[in-house]
């Protein structure tokens, strides 16, 4: 580009475009790239009054501290477990829902169910939390009433006070909110499957289930794999808002995630260096996870991200 003899002339001709683009360069540098320098803090014993230049350099000490820290390791475990639950439920539920919806023959009903299923996606996390509180409440909670009504339990369960339920509550709350929305991409993929295949199969005597199993699912395979790879990279990114809002002292040991640790320990207590180190650890694990998922997809001879 710079070897182009007319480069100077071209540059002059687009003075207006260059001028217009300057604020955008400045903006992105300040808001997105300057914070990256903050990663230096992870290798320092950062003191706000000393700044980056004068704070003591400590190498990997902050990371060593984290790995020996019981609280942090609990956070890592919780984040991973909830991430995996979210990944599994978040893959299976939308696929099943999309397939069933595409097989739903009653057209008006289909539109209605679609409209209803997307709605929770647009509600805030705070509202979701309120609904979870309501549904699981001890006194008048819908779930306890339902379970007692059909005789599964004889006294109400304190859902949010028992650590063993917490991960699943977060998982299913996320599903309530996002199943409909996540199914959109699978519905689009089902639409692009050739209808002749279904016709041929039904002439050969294949029933509904067999057609789903032998045509729809194989047709969805590339979509499922790509989304799975992308979601594997996000496994650690699922844990923050719901856990923060739903968590209480009784379930603290299972509700704390890496992000909450960064917030409480880093910003709350002013341990910036430790907080940044925890954040970097999370990003590193995410990158490694995407890499592993992508490589294994390639090894199986499937489509991959890159």
């Amino acid at each position: 580009m710079f070897k182009d003899p007319d480069f100077g002339k071209k540059l002059k001709n687009q003075k207006a475009l260059l001028l217009l683009s300057i604020p955008f360069v400045v903006y992105v540098l300040i808001f997105c790239y300057v914070p990256l320098f903050g990663w230096i803090m992870a290798f320092q014993k950062y003191k706000p009054n000393l700044g980056f230049t004068k704070s003591q350099f400590v190498g990997l000490d902050n990371f060593k501290f984290l790995f020996r820290n019981k609280d942090f390791m609990l956070c890592v475990r919780n984040t991973l477990m909830m991430g995996v639950i979210n990944l599994v439920l978040g893959t299976i539920c939308p696929i099943i829902f999309a397939i069933l919806l595409s097989e739903f023959r009653f057209n008006m009903g289909k539109k209605f169910v679609q409209t209803v299923s997307y709605l929770p996606h647009f509600l805030s996390m705070i509202i979701l939390t309120g609904i979870v509180f309501d549904v699981l409440s001890m006194e008048n909670g819908t779930l306890n009433k339902l379970l007692m009504g059909i005789g599964v339990v004889d006294k109400p369960i304190q859902w949010l006070a028992e650590p063993k339920y917490f991960w699943w509550i977060v998982g299913f709350a996320n599903r309530w909110k996002e199943t409909g929305w996540d199914s959109i991409i699978y519905l689009a993929a089902i639409t692009s499957i050739n209808p002749d295949l279904y016709e041929a199969a039904s002439i050969d005597g294949a029933g509904r289930m067999r057609r789903i199993w032998h045509i729809t699912l194989p047709g969805l395979k590339p979509t499922i794999l790509i989304l799975l790879i992308m979601n594997v990279g996000n496994v650690l990114n699922v844990g923050f808002e719901l856990q923060y809002l739903l968590g209480n002292d009784l379930v603290k040991s299972v509700a704390q995630t890496i992000d909450i640790y960064v917030l409480n320990y880093g910003i709350g207590k002013g341990n910036y260096s430790i907080g940044v180190a925890a954040g970097i650890f999370k990003s590193l694990v995410s990158i490694i996870l995407v890499f592993i998922a992508n490589t294994s997809a390639k090894a199986m001879g499937e489509e991959s991200l890159y």
């Binding site: 480069f7 071209k10 687009q14 475009l17 217009l20 683009s21 955008f24 360069v25 903006y27 300040i30 808001f31 914070p35 990256l36 320098f37 903050g38 990663w39 803090m41 829902f97 919806l101 097989e103 739903f104 023959r105 009903g109 209605f112 169910v113 209803v116 299923s117 997307y118 709605l119 929770p120 647009f122 509600l123 805030s124 705070i126 509202i127 309120g130 309501d134 008048n140 819908t142 409909g180 519905l187 689009a188 692009s192 050739n194 209808p195 002749d196 279904y198 039904s202 029933g207 509904r208 979509t223 790509i226 960064v262 917030l263 910003i267 910036y272 907080g275 940044v276 990003s283 489509e303």
Partner: protein
């Protein structure tokens, strides 16, 4: 990202060549099943359909019931609601919960700030992001690749909570309204969607205007931006929903300033006050004469907070579909 979406959606199906492939669109989703159903309906099909109908019914109830129940509680007398048993209709109808919510100064401030941040945030982000997309869609622009890359990278790499917090603090954005507007001003993904759309517009439009002596800003505002309305609407609606629903920035940066509180943050405060049951009884006692309880007040506050979204939602759905078919407009 656009290519990625294409990659995800296109599902290669074995032995059919492009020429034979019949043209289909979203309307045809049902037709394939309809056809086979006409040709042969087995007992298995009937069982499947019955099961499927029941499933869809249960699914809809699971989504709608908690929301409708919340509405019913919000219109019900607070003390009466504590007895339980309210399902879809209020037992003792009252508007006191709403009166209570709407008479609180902090709720009114919060509503004002929420509306302001949604309107200003959405308008500015949409206009500014479109301008960037316009610059990057100019084929003659020498640095379009470099500038695009600078923004695309931000989709994958982030400084993280603490560095960002410190930078915003250094910029004086704590305790300020700007922290709601500036950080999300130019979302890279929206920029890509807009740029893809603008690349699809005929070059001749801008060229002929240029001949007539129009500058880039004029061309952008008078010609290109109005032509992008379908996709601009989609981007704007998603930005608006994001603005309306966000609460974390209010908590992290503006907790100390009650003039900058938002509806979502106030709702979270109400939620937190209820979780400790001791406070619940204390509050109830205090409000005994007014017969509102934290639970009923929260229901009313939730309905107030969710209302704009539910009203906007039908439009949202329409524009979302418009957003999905963006690729259809070509020269």
């Amino acid at each position: 990202m656009a290519e990625l979406t294409k990659k995800i959606v296109s599902t290669p199906n074995a032995p059919i060549t492009q020429a034979e492939k019949p043209k289909r669109d979203a309307k045809d989703i049902g037709s394939k099943t309809k056809h086979s159903i006409v040709s042969r309906r087995t007992k298995g099909d009937n069982i499947f359909d019955a099961f499927n109908t029941v499933f869809m019914l249960v699914f809809s109830i699971v989504i709608l019931y908690p929301l409708l129940n919340m509405v019913a509680v919000s219109f019900n007398d607070g003390l009466d609601a504590l007895k339980g048993g309210i399902t879809l209709v209020p037992r003792v109808f009252t508007l006191k919960n709403y009166q209570h919510v709407l008479s609180q100064q902090n709720m009114l401030t919060a509503a004002k700030v929420s509306v302001l941040r949604t309107v200003i945030g959405t308008l500015s982000a949409t206009l500014v992001t479109s301008l960037l997309a316009y610059i990057l869609s100019r084929k003659e622009f020498l640095f379009k690749k470099q500038l695009s890359l600078l923004y695309v990278v931000t989709m994958y790499v982030s400084g993280g909570l603490i560095p960002i917090f410190l930078v915003y603090k250094a910029l004086g954005m704590t305790n300020s309204f700007m922290v709601y507007i500036l950080p999300g001003m130019v979302p890279a993904f929206s920029m890509l969607v807009l740029r893809t759309y603008m690349n699809g517009l005929p070059d001749s439009l801008a060229e002929s205007a240029m001949m007539d002596g129009a500058g880039h800003l004029t061309i952008f505002i008078r010609i290109i931006f109005p032509l992008c309305m379908p996709v601009v609407a989609t981007v704007a609606l998603f930005t608006a929903v994001g603005q309306w629903n966000s609460w974390f920035d209010a908590m992290l940066y503006n907790r100390m300033n009650s003039d900058l509180t938002t509806l979502q943050y106030e709702l979270m405060q109400i939620l937190n006050s209820i979780t400790s049951s001791k406070q619940q009884t204390a509050e109830t006692m205090k409000n005994a004469s007014a017969t509102v309880t934290p639970t009923s007040v929260r229901a009313a506050a939730t309905v107030v907070t969710a209302l704009p979204i539910v009203i906007l939602y039908p439009f949202l759905q329409r524009y979302f579909v418009a957003g999905l078919t963006i690729g259809g407009v070509k020269e």
